[in-house]
Symmetry: C2
């Protein structure tokens, strides 16, 4: 391995003594910091633009060190997690990348990824997005177990560094989450359909129901209505910025839904095939919930990989698309540094398919 | 009070010794029967078209008596509850009304009311609909506490008998539910918006999400998606018949939603006013959930009412529309039988308004 090689070194400093920086220590950043200290044994520095917020995080044992600015926080970091509000992520990422070491990985937790990955050209940046959160905000609600079992998307760009991807993968798994590699545009399409669109629909359902109620004050909300509208009106400034950040994918998804509702209207008006439509919906939902839930014992899949940018991320993306979770991952360099051996732990039932896919990617 | 008077007698046999018949002893009918025996001390007879179902209900202590047919079950009943599937309700109601005593009240539990109330001309019929149920079916899942605290709509027709309405009100309250009087067409409009439409939307959301996922097998279902689609594909034969029974109101509601989503699309595309739209949705949802939730101590509101058809139902409908729950109700005849005194128990905070409304109705 030579200095300046894009792949960097196959050594991956994640674990006791690793240095992690967290920029933005609210609920998510604070929980990352707590879990990194408790579970990875990492040394965590942090910064937040809110006055005294880093000191509060130190007092709550989330941070080892409160930094006066983003640059000081990241200067010696192995990994940086930017947990800033959607609208501020780009600026904080830029500040972090200007000060972070050459061999560090920088990620964020914003709920849309396409525009960030396109805008941040730095090879050390790999987007991320944990499917975790809470109704409450602020470091005072941070918990080391916030990410336990949660899907945490990683969106490596084309040709991303394998060493940095593997490091981020291990950090995320070490926090308790289940890392899942995904292309940025697919991520945004899925978030539009599985999260942002349901939020918009909940608002519309509430408005429709309020209109039906009119000026009567009769109780009409049963459990299914409460469930379906739980997210109506969630955190207005946050959600206004989320809708805006993923506008194109959201509008496409909303157009699709409006068309589907028109089709459903025709079906219901004709009264024909309604029962099988209903049954199909149930099957479809169960299939969606089953995705990624396969558990069971783990198998190790090993392969020798060339030391070239992007190969590890390609492997991760390919397995992820096939519904195969990489529960753990390690990279070991060959003596001459020209290649490395990757070990992937996947569910037993997926091992054969994973081996085939690994061969396809490397072949 | 003279024989043949439409109002019947002001005496109301609900309580120990009352005779209640349940036609259809599945989850709902079985739970009505259990609660009527345990809580009202009623003697409960029952019938079900499924072979041996009444005997099973007797064995489970839900019924005192298994009847060989609907007519035998209801012949001596003070109150009859028809808990048949939506498609069979009309026929079972007709059979019950042909055999039930002249002074009995007959109700049902179907989730749409307008067409039934229009089709069943008998003065002894007062529609009903409890907002309760479970994912499971069958008398083996019946529970005496199934209706505890649940809204139970009563849909008296124009000019309904006060004595029969009061008796049904007391039966329903005695089962643990909160009776709420409502006009049949308003009931169907509210059910369309608060229940049937959300079920249709859940199906469409699932289809949209499955389409977004395509052939990738990446986990994408978070808690909000699971909540919003919990009812997708629920019980296909049941829901196909519910959509059909309330078709007109459902289509109107669906058209309204499609229009609202189009408006939301324009708003999101323009990116203007999104935050206040989101905030309005939250306020609107809280207001909907608050309806009918006012608790606190009870006050008694008394009034002398003329012995004419419809007056008690009018009082109940008027208070209900104003968001005032009648927690308990009793009717006592004057010595000459030409009028009666009604006592209504409502929340303290509602007592003054209730008195005004009672005066308006009686004035």
């Amino acid at each position: 391995m030579t200095a300046g090689d894009d792949e960097g070194s196959f050594e991956s400093p994640v674990g006791p003594g690793a240095r992690i920086a967290v920029l933005g220590v609210g609920l998510i950043g604070g929980s990352v910091a707590l879990a990194a200290r408790e579970r990875l044994g990492a040394r965590v520095s942090g910064w937040d633009p809110v006055p005294h917020a880093p000191e509060v995080a130190v007092a709550r044992a989330a941070l080892d060190e409160a930094a006066p600015d983003a640059a000081s926080a990241v200067r010696e970091a192995d990994a940086v997690v930017v947990a800033a509000p959607v609208g501020a992520v780009h600026d904080v990422l830029t500040a972090a990348l200007a000060a972070v070491p050459e061999d560090a990985v920088v990620t964020d937790v914003a709920s849309t990824k396409g525009s960030l990955v396109a805008a941040v050209g730095d090879r050390r940046y790999i987007g991320g997005h944990p499917l975790a959160g809470a109704e409450v905000a602020g470091v005072e609600h941070a918990r080391a177990d916030l990410f336990d079992g949660a899907t945490w998307y990683l969106t490596p760009r084309e040709g991303a560094s394998g060493i940095l991807f593997e490091r981020l993968h291990r950090v995320v798994a070490g926090l308790g989450a289940v890392p899942s590699a995904i292309r940025p545009e697919v991520h945004d399409r899925l978030m539009a359909a599985f999260s942002h669109l349901p939020h918009v629909v909940a608002n519309a359902l509430v408005a429709q129901a309020a209109d039906a109620l009119g000026d009567e004050a009769i109780p009409a909300t049963g459990p299914s209505f409460r469930d379906m509208t739980r997210v109506a009106g969630a955190n207005p400034p946050l959600w206004a910025s989320i809708y805006g950040a993923n506008r194109e994918a959201l509008l496409t998804s909303l157009d699709g839904l409006i068309e589907r509702l028109g089709t459903a209207r025709d079906l219901l008006a004709a009264g024909d095939g309604v029962e099988s439509w209903q049954a199909d919906s149930g099957r479809r939902r169960r299939a969606l919930l089953d995705v990624g839930l396969t558990g069971g014992a783990l198998s190790e899949v090993r392969a020798v990989v060339p030391n070239r940018p992007g190969v590890i991320a390609d492997l991760a993306l390919t397995l992820s698309r096939a519904g195969i979770n990489i529960h753990d991952m390690s990279l070991s360099p060959s003596p001459d540094g020209r290649s490395g051996e990757v070990a992937l732990w996947v569910a037993d039932v997926h091992a054969d398919r994973a081996r085939e896919l690994v061969e396809e990617v490397l072949g």
